[in-house]
């Protein structure tokens, strides 16, 4: 396997990086939770620049 025509050496990349890949999954989940919390908060739920404003208003109605 080569990248842009360059030679690839058999350096182990996936096995040493496995803890950090798992950690990035955890961080992604935490940031997503905080973002959802922020988007649906009192201050920004009805903001006209919020792309989810219509969806949050619909969910609040149901």
């Amino acid at each position: 396997m080569a990248f842009l025509g360059l030679r690839k050496w058999p350096t182990p990349v996936l096995r040493p990086m496995a803890p950090f890949i798992a950690a990035s999954g955890i961080t992604f989940y935490l940031v997503k939770t905080m973002q959802d919390f922020g988007v649906r908060s009192e201050t920004y739920a009805k903001d006209p620049k919020n792309p989810y404003a219509a969806q949050i208003a619909r969910e609040a109605h149901h």
Partner: protein, 257 residues
């Protein structure tokens, strides 16, 4: 803060750190999908292309005589390799450390170009990165040492009576590593850029004030050039310090002392 996309004048020196939408796609499909390309995403793509392009152009095809670019990349590789070998002892984490160093270095350097956006001034990038690294290092330590990992929180030679207090202090200092690593990078870059923005606004006003004031402003402008040089040095130093500390934390997880 209001977005000032149509206004050419800046209102505050902190406006350069705003993440703005460049291209947006919203559709009520699959629930609701909203895909935006922000200036942060654009600059991340630019940094990725710069790093990959530089390494592609600096590749010397295993020729014996080095070209100027390959000397540069070989010396970068040699310094990072020696740092990783000195800290951790093995080269197994070298690809990760090398990529991390280049990512932070190129982000800081691209941000030093006037009117561009520095991605490390975003809290999500800096503190998210340091948080990810700390959680990764903890998972690594727990995987290697299992329950014995917690012996890291008791320094060697502590009297038994002090152990509860010391474990609490060591735990808090370990958890603070997640934030200190990212905040060090974030605060240095944000402070430097804010200072440059404020000074350049003053200098602009002074330079447009007439011929005599223009000539008198050349001295503070020389100082401003020195501070810009300092900002370039800070970009290198912060990348080096971040990567050095990541090596140190990985060593702590592998060797537990």
């Amino acid at each position: 803060m209001l977005l000032n996309n149509t206004n050419l004048f800046i209102n505050s020196p902190l406006e350069q750190f705003e993440v703005t939408n460049l291209l947006s796609f919203n559709a009520p499909l699959f629930g609701y999908i909203s895909f935006t390309i922000t200036n942060l995403a654009l600059y991340t793509a630019i940094i990725f292309s710069v790093i990959v392009g530089l390494h592609f152009l600096g590749n010397n095809d295993t020729k014996l005589l080095p070209s100027k670019w390959s000397i540069l990349f070989e010396s970068f590789f040699a310094s990072i390799n020696s740092m990783v070998r000195e800290q951790i002892g093995r080269e197994i984490y070298l690809p990760f450390i090398y990529s991390l160093f280049f990512f932070i270095l190129v982000s800081n350097l691209v941000g030093n170009i006037p009117y561009s956006f520095t991605i490390t001034t975003s809290v999500i990038v800096s503190i998210g990165l340091s948080f990810t690294i700390l959680i990764g290092v903890t998972i690594l330590g727990l995987y290697i040492h299992k329950i014995h990992f917690f012996s890291f929180f008791i320094p060697a030679g502590t009297p038994l009576a002090l152990v509860p207090l010391l474990v609490l202090i060591e735990l808090i200092s370990y958890l603070a590593r997640a934030f200190s690593l990212g905040i060090r990078l974030f605060a240095n870059v944000v402070a430097g850029h804010t200072l440059l923005k404020i000074l350049s606004t003053f200098l602009f006003k002074m330079f447009s004030g007439g011929l005599i004031i223009f000539i008198l402003t050349l001295l503070p402008f020389a100082l401003f050039l020195a501070i810009t040089g300092l900002e370039l040095a800070v970009s290198f130093i912060q990348a080096y310090v971040f990567v050095l500390l990541v090596c140190s934390y990985i060593k702590d997880a592998i060797e537990l002392h």
